[in-house]
């Protein structure tokens, strides 16, 4: 966009220099916490006290990672965050798959099989994307209690599906609205039914939006703390809750290396997803954002 032709070359050069300097400073600012976490997790406590945030470890040690995984104290128990890491997977995988699949079906109905009131319903559902969840957690806690699902993984999965569906439906609805309706009409004339069209025409087109939606939901559910802390108990807690307990429980000497190793473990799955599929992650963010 910039047109350097009318600017004299020397000030253009200085301009470029300043530009890159600012950008590099910004890159360092964004990278710094991750680097600090990693360096700290590889040090011994003596090393941490002797050095500073970004000093290189005198000796690279993985003991903090081992302790974080299997023997660090998270509140009452001292079994590390390993079990909670698997808890999070047990919560996240079904919640993501079910909410995504339901979102796809909902989006399909809301664009290709509209009926009276379906647009109104979509508007009402969008509201669900915006409410602060504080306004539903007390009744939900009561309901889960009645259903016998309090403090269970099933209960937490259920909550994530219910409140994730507004987003997944939004994703698929906005994607399917761009799929030409003629495709569906032609198939209808041809006698294809609701599910035939979905399986044979709509699903084969849906690859990218499935990736976007699954990544979005995975990040949301994995990173959730509010639902986890309210609806799970003891041994069903997700990793975010365990990490918070580990870092903020005030028993014994603070081990910052173990704190940082735990934080890295909690961050790894979503970071890996981001590195592998960053493009889709960003697309989900902006789609959810601009439209929602």
């Amino acid at each position: 966009m910039a047109n350097p032709s009318r600017i004299d070359p020397r000030s253009a050069l200085i301009g470029r220099f300043v530009l890159y300097a600012v950008l590099i400073a910004a890159v360092l600012f964004y990278l710094m916490p991750l680097v600090v976490m990693l360096l700290t997790s590889l040090k011994s406590m003596d090393d941490i006290r002797a050095g500073n945030l970004i000093s290189w470890p005198q000796e690279v040690l993985f003991g903090a990672w081992g302790k974080a995984w299997s023997s660090a104290c998270t509140g009452v128990s001292c079994d590390g965050i390993g079990t909670y890491f698997w808890n999070s997977f047990q919560i996240t995988i079904p919640a993501v798959l079910i909410s995504t699949f339901l979102g796809a079906l909902n989006g399909y109905v809301l664009t290709k099989w509209k009926f009276r009131g379906s647009d109104l319903f979509f508007g009402m559902m969008l509201f669900g994307c915006f409410i602060p969840f504080q306004v539903v957690i007390l009744p939900m806690a009561q309901t889960l209690g009645w259903l016998g699902l309090a403090n269970t993984t099933t209960g937490l999965v259920f909550v994530h599906i219910v409140y994730g569906m507004a987003f997944t439906t939004l994703f698929f609805r906005n994607f399917y609205i761009a799929v030409p309706t003629e495709l569906v009409s032609a198939a209808k004339i041809d006698g294809a039914g609701f599910f035939t069209i979905f399986w044979r025409i709509i699903l084969p087109l849906s690859g990218p939006i499935f990736v976007v939606c699954i990544i979005w939901q995975f990040t949301q559910v994995w990173n959730d703390f509010l639902f986890g802390v309210v609806f799970s108990g003891g041994d069903t807690q997700p990793i975010t809750v365990a990490l918070n307990n580990l870092v903020n429980s005030s028993t014994g000497v603070k081990e910052y290396n173990v704190d940082m190793a735990s934080a890295m473990i909690a961050a790894l799955p979503t970071l890996v997803v981001y590195v592998l599929a960053g493009k889709y992650f960003v697309r989900g963010l902006t789609a959810g954002a601009v439209k929602g």
Partner: protein
Amino acid sequence: MSMSNVSEAVAKPSSKGTEAAVRATSSSPLDWLQRWLPKMVLGPTIISTLIFIYGYVIWTGVLSLTKSRFLPKYDFVGFLQYEKLLDNDRWMVASWNILVFGGLFILVCLALGVLMAILLDQRIRAEGAIRTVFLYPMALSFIVTGTAWKWILNPGLGLEKLMQDWGFDNFQFDWLVNPDMAVYTLVIAAVWQSSGFVMALFLAGLRGVDGSIVKAAQLDGASMPTIYRRIILPHLRPVFFSAFIILSHIAIKSFDLVMALTGGGPGYSTDLPATFMYVTSFSRGQMGLGSASAMMMLAVVLAILIPYLYSELRGKHHG
């Protein structure tokens, strides 16, 4: 792939005639099923939305009118809980904090976001890599962010020690344990996490600006800063609005970051409405008061959202 599927479906030598006949009679059970199937598929979602969103909001509203403590009890006391809320020092601190935290967080994110987007839009080498770095915090949990920044801002071993090691012997940084300053640590961490995302929104907006208008302005002798101020930034108005909405949404929902970074402390100096609601309802067993605070949060969200949606819809109508 899709086209072949479609043509296959269309070209399938199917019973077009009989289908038309079924359609005409319109009374076969199969036809009935086809008509009701979409509604049946959407049905569970409709029911769950009505119950778990609308029903629960109303339920919370009802609870906020009662004296419920650890368990819901439906003896109504009118707006007593709301009066108590406004008399509650902790709630007033939380409300003030959300203004300070939310205001600064949104302003800094918008400013940084625009600036970074403009800088990145100057045909930068390795733009993709830089964008990736700016955005990765968005993939992290606020609990992880809070944990990391709690360590970085640690008075004694964190940033303070680093600066002292670098020769700034008198450098002091105790915001995390200073009741007057702790709320700004929330701003730092939240900005770190979300500003890259705002940058991505603005960058997408910048890429959508018509290059020919900019060229024309340049031919007229306008300088780049003028072009940005008079032409490009006004084009980004919608992006500003949606970024504002998302950021205020993040701010009002901020719960995990506070829990991980400050725990609401020192004292309750960094409480936000979201943490107030949690502590009041679950730790202190004042469900009525907690419900009232949740309803206040909803009211604030609606107060921001409704004018936005209204202008959006009206804009679409005119457009």
